[in-house]
């Protein structure tokens, strides 16, 4: 059996040309670049979800190449998905080569969004791997002259039971050949009890490269002949150009061209620092019509802009129940615009030629980006190839798609590969923001100690505006056209977890979409779920406090799902929750922190992961400062594929949620976003992290895996608010919980 590291060059001969595996300048000599990138890939047929050969290719060298439509966004999912394939195919994990998110090579598994990669993407890969395993067994049965029932399969070798001499490796069975087989879905998959790889804390495959500078991000690509582009930004889409000094910029050393298309203005230069200088020298002046409301009027503007409403869920007669309640509780909550705020501003490299366009992008949807890029360039879609190349963590729809369009336009203009690196200001001002939300809640607890009435009304701009076929859904296309097109609307984004999972007899949950708002918004981690859960779980706490009931107990009275109760009980036990209603004292010793503890529970998207959290805080009443000291989380997302990867995700969700809750809000004036650096958009620092994040994973091998990329964010904001109340008696209802807001709540 061969263990040569040479690439499989049989069916997927074009692999070496594909770019994905060879673009790392530091990994490969310049020569291999020049020789391989010049030729277009030879592709016989487009990948098809039904065809096994579209998913798995086994080389004579025993390498198993897997083609995945779902991509690595920094969550570790490419390791988890490898585990699933390695498990089902009985092949060592390190023998798997991973190709991801290439519009020409991989099956379109849909965008990598909504914590769906393991749940949906993993299920597809499992079926493909199981089919491949079945095919290999059948091939071996013929060649070894033994029935499948007498065959054993392990570590990429099929052998006859009790006759170790009769064995064939996967490479010997099919190396270099095609399966020519449809995925029937009938190949048996392993029982979870038999798992050896799934369920183990396998170290992530990408981390050694990431801690040594060897991992190749899209930011690190260098194509032969590549030059550097920058885009000159107006205050907003639709602003007209008043003046522009193209001539001075064009005369600078190294400048290749100043590109103008409508209000899209970009520069291309030989060297990166030359492009930066040229973009400044262009010295563009734009018309600056005030289009944004005063920050103080933001939420009232939502109410006047929303003209329709949608009842998300209704039981009984909430209005009547509220009218007859003896002590109704009402509360208004507010959540600001927030940023994905990726550490690395978005970057892309595009190579647009006369008859082809290749775009390297950290996009969440390589396949979905093809059509708008093609339309932007005015070329047929089959000439455009989008190759996912990992970027900085995105946490949703950040600038990755937009910068790809910038690079494509500039590359087309100069006929050379162009790398565009957004500045920090570009990123903060132009990424599609997570929308602000306004909530009005009302409810009451009846004499029986249960919730008698519950109403929810929320106002929010769209949480989903992904690129469509219309290039004006990308910033470059919108600037070229002079106005933006509506992106792909994801219904339900703002309504995610609008309705709780509590059984409420008189409930009315109504959403009020804000149809158009001058700030461009789209999907940020969790979409509406963290915000909705902030309102719902804060209000739950307010009802409990008003009725004098322990906050966990009040929730338990409205839940029957054993998995919900299990995470709640687990976190209460782990945190040492002491029953009783919050009875905070408002007085305190000056200069001393008051301690408090808050609880919240969410089942993500009502059908996904169960998460319960207890947060301990210190609040300084004199300064208003809040410090999260400890977070306990109990988490059930079904079968756990990689427990350490899952913990990493939960910790990340918790930290990011603390940051969003305590610190983050997009600042803007009448014309533009103004919080364009890390001082203007501060995030959590090391000195502000909790002392401990204590996680209990509830593994459910008998239940399908659901996503974990977003769920643990959702309960944290309310748990912090509830802890502040427990500490001080002050209810903070507007995010972020800045010191000023906390002091104001203490005075209220």
């Amino acid at each position: 059996m061969s263990t040569s590291p040479a690439s499989p060059r049989s069916r997927r001969e074009f692999l070496a040309d594909a770019g994905v595996l060879i673009v790392g300048f530091s990994l490969f000599p310049r020569a291999s670049h020049a020789s391989s990138l010049g030729r277009p890939p030879r592709v016989a047929t487009a990948p098809s979800a039904d065809a096994l050969d579209s998913w798995v290719v086994i080389g004579r060298d025993e390498r198993v190449t897997v083609y995945a439509g779902k991509v690595e966004l920094g969550t570790g999912v490419s390791t988890a998905l490898r585990q699933i394939v390695a498990e089902e195919l009985d092949v060592p994990l390190e023998r798997i080569t991973w190709v991801q998110g290439d519009s020409r090579l991989t099956v379109d598994q849909g965008r990598t969004v909504g914590s769906g990669s393991v749940k949906r993407g993993g299920a597809q890969l499992r079926r493909a791997a199981a089919e491949a395993r079945q095919a290999l067994l059948e091939l071996a049965a013929k060649q070894l002259n033994a029935p499948v029932s007498q065959l054993e399969i392990a570590d990429g070798v099929v052998s006859v039971a009790r006759d170790a001499s009769r064995r064939l490796t996967f490479g010997a069975l099919i190396g270099g050949g095609r399966f020519e087989r449809t995925i029937s879905g009938r190949a048996s998959v392993k029982a979870p009890a038999a798992y050896k790889v799934v369920g183990r804390p396998i170290p992530r495959v990408d981390i050694p490269g990431k801690v040594t500078g060897k991992h190749v991000y899209v930011h690190d690509l260098r194509l032969p002949g590549m030059v550097h582009g920058r885009v000159v930004r107006p205050p907003r889409i639709g602003a007209t150009i008043e003046s522009l000094d193209e001539r001075s910029a064009a005369k600078l050393p190294g400048v290749i061209r100043v590109v103008r298309k409508g209000t899209f203005v970009g520069v291309v230069a030989e060297r990166e620092e030359q492009a930066v200088r040229a973009a400044k020298t262009v010295n563009a002046k734009w018309e600056a019509t005030p289009v944004l409301p005063d920050a103080a009027d933001l939420y009232t503007s939502f109410k006047s802009l929303a003209t329709t409403e949608r009842v998300v869920g209704e039981t009984g007669d909430a209005a009547a129940a509220l009218r007859s309640a003896s002590r109704p509780v009402r509360a208004t909550y507010r959540w600001p615009f927030q940023l994905h705020a990726s550490m690395g501003p978005s970057c892309s490299v595009a190579d647009v030629r006369a008859d082809s366009a290749t775009v390297y992008s950290a996009t969440q949807g390589a396949h979905q980006l093809v059509a708008p890029i093609a339309a932007l360039l005015g070329v047929p879609s089959d000439q455009v190839r989008v190759v996912f190349t990992e970027g900085s963590g995105c946490y949703g729809h950040n600038g990755a798609d937009d910068v790809a369009a910038d690079a494509a336009l500039l590359s087309q203009a100069v006929g050379r590969p162009v790398r565009v690196q957004w500045s920090r200001e570009d990123e903060n001002a132009w990424e599609p923001e997570g929308p602000a939300m306004l909530f009005e809640m009302a409810g009451a607890v009846g004499a029986d100690g249960k919730i008698a009435a519950w109403t929810y009304d929320a106002w929010t701009p769209t949480h989903g505006a992904r690129p469509t076929r219309d290039p004006a859904t990308l910033v470059a296309g919108a600037l070229a056209a002079g106005n933006a097109a509506a992106g792909e609307f994801f219904s339900g984004g703002g309504e995610r977890n609008a309705r709780t999972t509590y059984a409420l007899p008189n409930e009315r949950v109504t959403s009020h979409p804000v149809p158009a708002f001058p700030i461009r918004t789209s999907s940020l981690r969790g979409l509406g779920s963290p915000q909705n859960s902030f309102a719902n779980e804060s209000f739950m706490d307010e009802l409990a406090a008003a009725a004098g009931i322990d906050p966990i107990e009040l929730r338990r009275r409205h839940l029957s799902d054993p998995r919900a109760l299990a995470v709640i009980d687990a976190v209460a036990k782990r945190a040492g929750w002491t029953s009783g209603a919050s009875a905070p004292a408002r007085s305190g010793v000056a200069g001393e922190a008051r301690k408090g503890r808050g609880f919240a529970y969410v089942q993500y998207d009502r059908t996904e992961a169960y998460v319960a959290a207890v947060v301990d805080v210190d609040v300084r009443p004199d300064t208003g400062s809040v410090r999260v000291r400890r977070v306990c989380v109990a988490h059930d997302c079904g079968l756990v594929v990689n427990p350490d990867g899952l913990r990493n995700q939960i910790e990340g969700n918790v930290i990011q949620a603390i940051s969003r809750t305590l610190k983050e809000a997009v600042r803007f004036d009448a014309t533009r976003v103004t919080g364009v650096d890390w001082n203007g958009y501060p995030i959590l620092r090391f000195s502000e992290i909790p002392d401990a994040i204590d996680i209990e994973l509830i593994d459910r091998p008998d239940q399908p895996s659901v996503g974990a990329g977003e769920a643990a964010t959702s309960p944290i904001p309310a748990a912090i608010a509830n802890a502040i109340f427990d500490a001080t008696g002050a209810r903070v209802r507007q995010v972020p919980f800045t010191a000023d807001r906390v002091r104001a709540a203490l005075r209220a």
Binding site: F25, S26, G74, T75, R204, D206, I207, G209, K210, V211, T212, G213, K214, Y217, H219, D220, R222, P253, G254, E270, R271, E272, E273, S342, M343, G344, P345, E390, G391, S392, G393, Q421, S423, R424, R574, D644, G645, N648, Q649, E651, G652, N653, V654, I655, Q656, D677, W678, N679, I683, L684, R685, F686, S687, I689, D691, A692, I693, D694, I695, E696
Partner: protein, 167 residues
Amino acid sequence: MRELPTATIRIRVNGADHQVYAEPDTPLLLVLRNELSLNGPKFGCGLGQCGSCTVHVDGAPRRSCVTAVSAVAGKEVITLEGLGTPERPHPLQQAFIDEQAAQCGYCINGMIMRAAALLASTPRPSRDAILSAMDANLCRCGTHMRIVRAIERAAGGSAASPTGREG
């Protein structure tokens, strides 16, 4: 077409001497990345605010995005690549692997470079000293707990962690 900047600057990076052509005020970060193909240091803000671009200059952590290349002439620059490789990682890099202390990993260059400088001057830092030293660096994925653990591990401190591996 191509107009090379006139200035020639000699810099010493990871133990090797290089002659680079760049305007003297070019950020060191761009020279390291674009001229020397060192991808460890990352562009995060260009403002010296986030730390993703951190390198060592004569042993001290420096923001290479706001350091002019001319300012390091005659000095010793070390990048993440100069610490170790996947095959022979520096103890701190190994600790980050052992603690799985990365998500997207974009900030990790700065975390390791800053922590390496800390441990060089303070081999057994307290947790507070670690938090204080790392406060200048930002991470968006929320990997902070693991980063702290990795630094503690590399310092030979307790590997037992408050976040726990149990459960």
